[in-house]
């Protein structure tokens, strides 16, 4: 664990051409402690994160925690409290058996609940069955361009996905995220402390977080109200009225293929019941009009606690023009998004290449 965090933090510092001593405070995020079986790991990991002697904060919002960790780091700058903050998040799923925890035993767990909400989406929207496999192929093709993607399947096609083992109907194995080890780090500075590197910074245009109770009896898992409100707030801050037109690409938390069309609707990129058509028309493909998950997304690496922060970082890399082979051309504004828990925590940010 310390090595994973140290590597992410060191690379972020190198990219910003900053030293540990430049960091005023550290924000740390990971999914529930039981995933590694280590209680409050931030206490012993603090020095590996460069946090010894510095203010350090821990975030907790299950699978969305990485995006909250990023956004809270930005808040610490926006508040004027600090000038330079490191947000860092990780998960090391090989450390213990998260399949047992998330699998839920004989009563079923996360996969079962999400598969069931996916069928609700299919029932409601009338989407044809090939949409899930299409998303899986698209993200897995994108992963081949990303050196940090972990699950790479050269030659991936629809047939391969449709012939993979059925895990939780209607999800086949290649439509599901892998278990991963990984970490990510982002450095935030105030305007007067912008690092003098050749690589430009990303500017934060808007950010929002929302939550809703899992036991709420009239809530929708298909189009959660908290997700809609989270997007609306982020758009309002960024001055966006037509997100599909005004954003150039998005990194959306899609742990199972069908969450792409569901979240396209939840985030206002498509009308309710129409998200699957954007997938079917290749609009979200790498060379489509609105590329989604050019990095390969969560389907290609799901270090849970880090995954949301990595969505935010990937959006930032796109507007900075530093995404390498999976760089989408001419990105001016991009979204990073994550959700967590029983589809109940949401975090979204919008970053741009220009100062807002």
């Amino acid at each position: 664990m310390p090595g994973l965090l140290r590597e992410a933090a060191t690379r972020a510092l190198a990219d910003a051409e900053l030293e540990w001593s430049d960091i005023d405070a550290v924000v740390f995020g990971k999914a529930p402690d039981l995933f590694e079986g280590v209680m409050r790991p931030e206490l012993f990991l603090n020095d590996a994160m460069g946090g010894a002697g510095k203010p350090m904060f821990r975030m907790h919002t299950a699978g969305s925690v990485g995006a909250h960790t990023a956004i809270f780091g930005a808040h610490l700058i926006e508040s004027g409290q600090y000038e330079c903050v490191l947000s860092i998040a990780f998960e090391k799923q090989s450390e213990t058996d998260t399949s047992r925890i998330l699998g839920g035993g004989s009563r079923g767990g996360a996969g079962v609940a999400f598969a069931s909400s996916i069928r609700q989406y299919i029932e409601k929207s009338g989407a044809p069955p090939h949409i899930g496999p299409l998303v899986a192929v698209k993200d897995r093709l994108n992963a081949l361009k990303n050196p940090h993607a972990q699950l790479k399947i050269p030659g991936i096609d629809i047939k391969m996905v449709e012939e993979s083992e059925m895990v939780v109907e209607p999800l086949r194995k290649l439509e599901c995220c892998p278990t991963s080890d990984g970490a990510g780090a982002i450095i935030f500075t105030s305007e007067k402390r912008i690092p003098k590197t050749e690589r430009p910074p990303a500017w934060l245009h808007g950010s929002s977080t929302r939550s809703e109770a899992s036991g709420h009896p009239s809530r929708s898992w298909v189009n959660p109200l908290a997700g809609q409100q989270c997007a609306a707030e982020a758009y309002a801050q960024a001055g966006i009225t037509n997100p599909l037109e005004e954003l150039d690409c998005a990194e959306i938390y899609v742990p199972f293929s069908w969450f792409e069309p569901m979240w396209l609707e939840n985030l206002g990129f498509a009308e309710e019941g129409q998200g699957w058509k954007m997938v079917d028309d290749d609009i979200t493909a790498f060379d489509g009009a609105f590329p989604v998950n050019a990095s390969g997304g969560v389907l290609s690496a799901n270090a849970i606690g880090a995954a949301g922060l990595i969505r935010c970082a990937e959006a930032a890399m796109q507007v900075r023009g530093t995404a390498g082979e999976h760089q989408v051309p001419d990105v001016r504004r991009a979204m990073g998004h994550a959700f967590g828990g029983a589809s109940q925590y949401f975090a979204i940010w919008i970053v741009g290449s220009e100062k807002p």
């Binding site: 058996d97 399949s99 047992r100 699998g103 839920g104 035993g105 004989s106 009563r107 079923g108 767990g109 996360a110 996969g111 079962v112 609940a113 598969a115 069931s116 909400s117 069928r119 609700q120 029932e123 409601k124 083992e165 059925m166 895990v167 939780v168 109907e169 209607p170 109770a213 036991g215 709420h216 009896p217 009239s218 809530r219 929708s220 298909v222 189009n223 109200l225 029983a342």
Partner: protein, 176 residues
């Protein structure tokens, strides 16, 4: 998984008791009588089962006077068939689980589907609760995600709800 990776299963068990709230005690007693009770929020009229003793949306307390009985029958609005991973879920068997929307409510409860082959499960089926047996008047401990006091659902044998009716129910479920 390659031969040089060893999986060590070290499952620990922790038993604990917690005193039930009044709402939880009345819910458990009702389960013992194969009845399902809920609290109706006096402000927003949302139904909670099991009752919480408050409405988290309106932040108001609910008590016995808000208690009503709801039907333990409903329509299967979604389902999945799980194929447990042989490595991580030893002893797991292929099974169907689904969401049942209780009649006359917007409550969907998840549970294992009993008395129907996984291959024959379809949305629109009319289902009724299969109750958990109380142990010494208490609910046995349970893990995973699902309803409390209800083991699962079995078909009533009544005619199915139509596809349009299922879509209507799902639309109703999402209205806040």
């Amino acid at each position: 998984m390659s031969d040089d990776v060893k999986v060590l299963n070290s499952v620990v068990s922790l038993d604990y008791e917690r005193p039930p709230t009044r709402a939880a005690r009345r819910y458990t007693e009702a389960v013992g009588e194969k009845r399902l009770i809920a609290h109706r929020c006096p402000e927003c009229e949302r139904l909670y089962t099991p009752p919480k003793g408050y409405c988290p949306v309106c932040v108001v307390l609910t008590t016995d006077e808000h208690e009503i009985e709801v039907s333990p029958e409903g329509v299967l609005v979604s389902y999945t068939v799980t194929n447990p991973d042989k490595l991580h879920q030893q002893g797991g068997k292929t099974s169907a689980r689904g969401d049942v929307m209780l009649d006359g409510t917007r409550i969907t409860l998840m549970g294992e589907l009993d008395g129907v082959e996984a291959a024959d499960v379809h949305t629109g089926m009319r289902m009724r609760a299969v109750w958990v047996e109380l142990e010494d008047g208490r609910l046995p401990s349970s893990g995973g995600w699902g309803a409390v006091g209800i083991k699962g659902w079995e078909p009533t044998g009544e005619p199915d709800a139509s596809r349009e009716e299922v879509q209507e129910l799902l639309k109703k479920a999402g209205e806040s």
